[in-house]
Subunit: 406 residues, 2 copies
């Protein structure tokens, strides 16, 4: 007897396909392809000697503890280092506001599990981070999207949308935002909008989930306070913050953290416990060493210069190959790893993706960044991984490929 | 405005408390306490030089790849090493039968998410592994328990239970078993029962989840074939196998694997992707080095001798301190890390736990190992972590504590 697997699977997972970007990346394995598709930080920025030194010390002095089970919420030493790191960003947390996660993706999944029933509504931007959509989808929520503006989320339409949803009995469980150098657009939310978003949260009692993977990577302009820190100047308890070491330090470490109201953090910790117990201590201890011993200020300064130059080259090359008459537009981020390119409305970037592969260049079709009703004429491009020469060449190939479609 | 958190949380998580063993362990921090509560392998058995050598090589030769994102299903090199490891146990798998997980607990959570809707039934033993109950609970299933026998699951009662459940419209989604040196009892399922369990699975179409964390740790007697391998001599596709490197290698590595029908493994991989993307490559590469370069046969022989001696000391000391007239009985496992002690029916081991702490000894109260209707007069004791002298002393303290209750 053979099983009818689909019938056997849970309702939440039956139609679940995981991360469609992952599937697309598999098509970029040809070494001649310059990929602007990934979200990879450059390995040139990994603090290699710091890692080697810290690792050797851990394995020499502390191997037995490093490779044993360790506490579910996280290593005390990392939790203290993270608390200090956040304090420098005007975020004041105590131990019960913090749980170490096994990546930013992990934080997204756990907060989704804690808050979402099937059919619950999540309010988010159009476009927004595909990984968040993919994590939340495992709970089968509805997504209510609001078009993102050049200065961040459209709080006026958020308010209207919430009123409409409430009338329909669908008060959103939370509002998901990436306020700093948003993935996929690179857009940063203005201070005014952050305050307006908090106003809305206080009016409606709807929690804000603030995802901050790129916050430290500002290459120009002034840092805008984290929504979490602005909330702390009010009553507090209206924001859950999600962070990762993936961009700050390196993705392979698979370590991140979440901050928030103690009740939410306790629930997240319980779910983490049933999900996988503890984040590996070795990986946490390397993050502690990164925050404590690897001269993080100098490291971040190096990263900002390095990625800032790439962004500058990228933007200048875009100007050259996509003059105004092409009708191609793009965002001009002040930080992060991505920008968002908009093509004339008749071009479907999913179809274009397969064309681009023939031209040996890759990007992510914009449709994966929508919770509902995707738009089809955008693409996300990453400027952090390829070299400056490759970036310029990639844009040239992209222009060759797109010129056929214009 | 303050939030009503419970109202905000999802139905699955609202009452979820995580792992109650974890909370109990926090009471065992007094260094004078000899803890038989944990499930910790002895750090004496960690292959320390092998880890140091492999780690140094990875960080010297391959740091940039090791700390970058890596494929969600797992590293090809580890998947090949695992395939070879399983082949030696007469289990033949291909690439699409295998996904690397971030621990045994992770495998349990993912299979629960893939298969269980709220209200679905899981058939399991009484008692069974608490971590499985805790993982599955996040999907809010019903648990149907059948009393475990000295030679494993009671397949006759399983069959009757399934018939009863079917009449009530509650066909179990799967049967969860730990056939080798079960946690918490140490009991091993006989070959006859493994075949009978497969017969039942083929008759009813109900999937078997075979959890095998301790399978390699047999100290005496003959190895019984894995249910997965017995299934492969039939049609196959009736078993999902869950494994971990936690006992085999070390828990802090947080790496395991799951094997099964390609449709199930694909669904598990999709969930893993939304949950946390990839297991850290460093951790996977150390497991590959463990399987390939650390003389695993010699390592396992050392572990078997080391833990086998501890078990022998433990059993001999139990005989001495708990003569028949005390009415205390216990299992006599041939492997694994645990045994199961049954006290006279009037003794509640949860209350006894707090007494035992005063006597500076700890165990896990048996009630956490039941999906439903817990029995209260059992305890799980671990014999792998404490030294032989500590084990003997712990039993003496336990006898002093219990004698007050008899």
């Amino acid at each position: 007897m053979k099983h009818d697997w689909k019938a056997l699977f849970s309702d939440n997972i039956r139609e679940y396909g995981g991360y469609s970007i992952g599937k697309i990346m598999a098509l970029c394995n040809d070494p001649e392809i310059i990929s602007l598709a990934g979200g990879l930080p450059s390995p040139d920025m990994f603090p290699k000697e710091g890692i080697r030194t810290a690792s050797a010390r851990l394995l020499e002095e502390n191997l037995e503890a490093v490779f044993q089970y360790s506490p579910v919420p996280g290593e005390a030493s990392l939790m203290e280092a993270v608390t200090d790191y956040l304090a420098a960003d005007n975020i004041g947390i105590k131990k019960d506001n913090l749980v170490i996660t096994s990546s930013g993706q992990h934080g997204l999944d756990i907060i989704g599990r804690v808050l979402l029933n099937p059919g619950d509504t999540v309010l988010l931007d159009r476009p927004t981070f595909a990984g968040a959509i993919v994590a939340f989808q495992m709970q089968r929520p509805r997504f209510a999207g609001v078009n993102l503006q050049p200065d961040g989320s459209d709080i006026i339409v958020y308010r209207k949308k919430i009123a409409d949803l409430r009338k329909a009995g669908q008060t959103p469980k939370f509002i998901y935002v990436v306020p700093d150098f948003q993935n996929p657009t690179g857009i940063t939310m203005s201070l005014e909008k952050r305050e307006a978003l908090l106003d809305l949260s206080y009016e409606t009692g709807i929690l804000i989930v603030e995802d901050s993977p790129y916050r430290a990577f500002r290459y120009q302009g002034e840092t805008v306070p984290a929504i979490y820190s602005l909330d702390q100047q009010r009553d507090g308890d209206h924001v859950v913050g999600l962070y990762t070491f993936s961009k700050l330090f390196c993705p392979g470490i698979r370590t991140g953290f979440a901050i928030g109201p103690p009740a939410v953090i306790q629930a997240m910790t319980n779910v983490k416990e049933g999900n996988l117990l503890n984040t590996p201590k070795y990986n946490q201890d390397l993050c502690t060493a990164f925050l404590r011993d690897m001269n993080i200020d100098a490291h971040l300064a190096t990263c900002r210069t390095f990625y800032g130059r790439k962004l500058k080259v990228f933007l200048a090359t875009m100007e050259r190959y996509f003059p105004e008459k092409t009708g191609v537009t793009w965002t001009r981020p002040e930080g992060g790893l991505f920008l968002w390119v908009t093509l004339p409305a008749h071009i479907d970037t999913k179809k274009l993706f397969y064309e681009a592969i023939k031209f040996k260049v890759a990007f992510v079709p914009g449709e994966v960044f929508y919770g509902e009703n995707p738009e089809n004429n955008h693409m996300r491009v990453n400027f952090s991984y390829a070299s400056e020469e490759q970036l310029a060449e990639a844009i040239k190939r992209l222009a060759d490929c797109i010129s056929n479609q214009l």
